[in-house]
Symmetry: none
Subunit: 212 residues, 4 copies
């Protein structure tokens, strides 16, 4: 059997790690080759060019966050919601290891950096922009579905599920973004805010609302 698909995956993971190390603006194919432990020219056997390779790295995101969730039946809506939130804010090595054979060392930092860099590139490249939009749609969809299910089962209060999902999603993204781009520890603050929202959803109290 051909080793090709394995090699393609190894290149993608090497690119991921190299991106975490060097950043988009100064990421060279040489860097990727070094991370890969092979001559960079091999990249052209598996990808059209640098952009094609980097574009494919959004797939790594999909692998980590989206794929497995889309088809899963929901058992407990609140548990499910909290688990999704947790996995985005604190990606676990075990989970990441399922989709990457050699993940970078500090996964939390790695994921937030790559998120910020790839999304930033989407400003300039339509293909990237399509992918980022789609990934976001999928994740928002998962959140929306979970909230709606919770409402239908009476676990959650009656809210606009799309808007609430979007609210949560904005905060999650911003947690990663602020974590990667400032000296502030933003993830815990976001966790607090998002927990409030989930708490609100699952209490039948009428008061104590967001930001309070």
């Amino acid at each position: 059997m051909s080793t090709a698909p394995e090699t393609e995956r190894r290149i993608r993971e090497a690119a991921f790690r190299a991106l975490v190390k060097h950043g988009y603006a100064s990421l060279s194919l040489t860097d990727i080759g070094e991370e890969l432990g092979q001559n960079p020219s091999i990249i052209y056997h598996y990808f059209d060019d640098k952009d094609d390779l980097l574009l494919s790295m959004i797939d790594v995101f999909v692998d980590i966050f989206v794929d497995e969730r889309t088809e899963q039946p929901i058992t407990d809506a609140e548990d499910e919601l909290r688990m999704i939130i947790d996995q985005i804010l604190h990606p676990q090595p075990d989970h990441v290891h399922k989709v990457m054979s050699s993940p970078p060392e500090n996964i939390e930092t790695a994921v937030s950096r790559v998120f910020v860099e790839l999304w930033a590139h989407a400003i300039w490249d339509d293909d990237f922009r399509c992918e980022t939009t789609e990934v976001e749609n999928s994740l928002r969809e998962i959140l929306t579905r979970t909230i709606r299910t919770g409402m239908e089962r009476g676990e959650f209060r009656s809210v606009n599920p799309e808007l609430t999902a979007e609210h949560i999603f904005f905060l999650l993204k911003q947690g990663l973004h602020t974590h990667a781009t400032t000296n502030r520890a933003a993830i815990d603050r976001v966790h607090t805010l998002v927990n409030q929202i989930v708490d609100e959803l699952s209490t039948d109290k009428q008061s104590e609302c967001l930001g309070a």
Copy 2:
């Protein structure tokens, strides 16, 4: 007085416009020189190097969003809050023109792009990181101060002003970020969510909470 400070400002603005056009990763001094209408080597009379110039562009942000507000006395807290929010989500040409003599054409897009690009670069450069952190601190401080003032005057409900300010600030940033990096019209959605929070602050109603 020499024309030097004027030239320095012109260079900074040219760099700003060039960044809006080309993006950080592919921004060359040639691009900036073209935007400036002068030979790019003049940049070295006013800045140490490319990084120094780009770092100084965060100052443009400070000029636009922070400076004038820090010392202003607050008259009406809710008005003030809504105005700050509006100015971040929809920067007005008139206002920007006060701090830039030749602003780029589409200011809303320009500001969100530059925000995303400069912050992304802060991942890799400690000097940038200090600046981004500081700018965010200032803006959060303004929001916090406004909320606290509103509370003290009885205009707003009693909340944790730091946390609420942070909540609003996360959403505002994410509005710009999503606007710049996906195909979704995120700014209006963010406006809706933030308005809800401000509404909550200024009503004494006990019900109808976030996302509802």
Copy 3:
């Protein structure tokens, strides 16, 4: 018998077609592999390297223009001469098909291009130079022989057969060359000039004309 000689010929023809398509300077083994419909590395089973393969393409020329003529007895000198001229200026698909199983589409263009490219390469490569010299010698020899035969039989006026052959040959080559390398329709002009020479040969006027 093994299929090897057949494969070797197929490779040579593929190289010929690829050369017609891409030109010497930008002809890659990948191009040849594509034309061949096979993996380019197979070439190394039949040829030492790229140069060796391209050198062998001169043989295709020999196959087309020289081989069959060298041993043929001459029946009518003028007819023969006009036929040779015609075949060089307007190679017929039928005739080419005898030596190539998959000739390129526009043979006239193909032949002139390959002639110009291979001969140009002969500037730099002694092996090529030997081959081009030899092919030219053979063709000039055929022309000379035909003219001499015509003279001996009284069909042609008395001229210097080597010089006249060379004169005709120069013009024929230049027809192909100008056809391939400029926007001018040179072949018909050459035909006119060469016909004049042949006419002169076969008239019984005594006037000493050019080439005599």
Copy 4:
């Protein structure tokens, strides 16, 4: 005064010499830089890219063969014709030195090589093709004009001046071509043939000869 035009000319001449040394197919900007004694990147200050530089080398041809002749009044048609022929077949260092400050060593070889290489490239590049066509038109025009003038003054027999000029021109080109691409000494042979034609032109025999 700026040194720029001087540098541009130096680059063009270096490219000319490098082309004579290495040939089109294996001519790298590094080669040209070496010939120039400077870093190859300087080329991009004066030319768009490699093709632009090489295209400009046809101008060197125009400088050598065409320019000075176009406006000169003709004194003696036969002398003039023989001089043009001589200058193409045997370019003199003195003459070349007028348009190149550092010509290559063996000018005869250099000119024929560059002619063959540039013309060969015209097969694939329309810009080259335009230039080659134009240069040829100019040279043919000069020959035609000289022959026509000779006829009008009664120095030459009555012939078709265009066709005779073309005849001569074909032979001259083929002299250079054969000289560059085979092991045969073709230039003298061509000289003999062309001299015959000119002799024919200036004899007063009435017999209708070629080109008439």
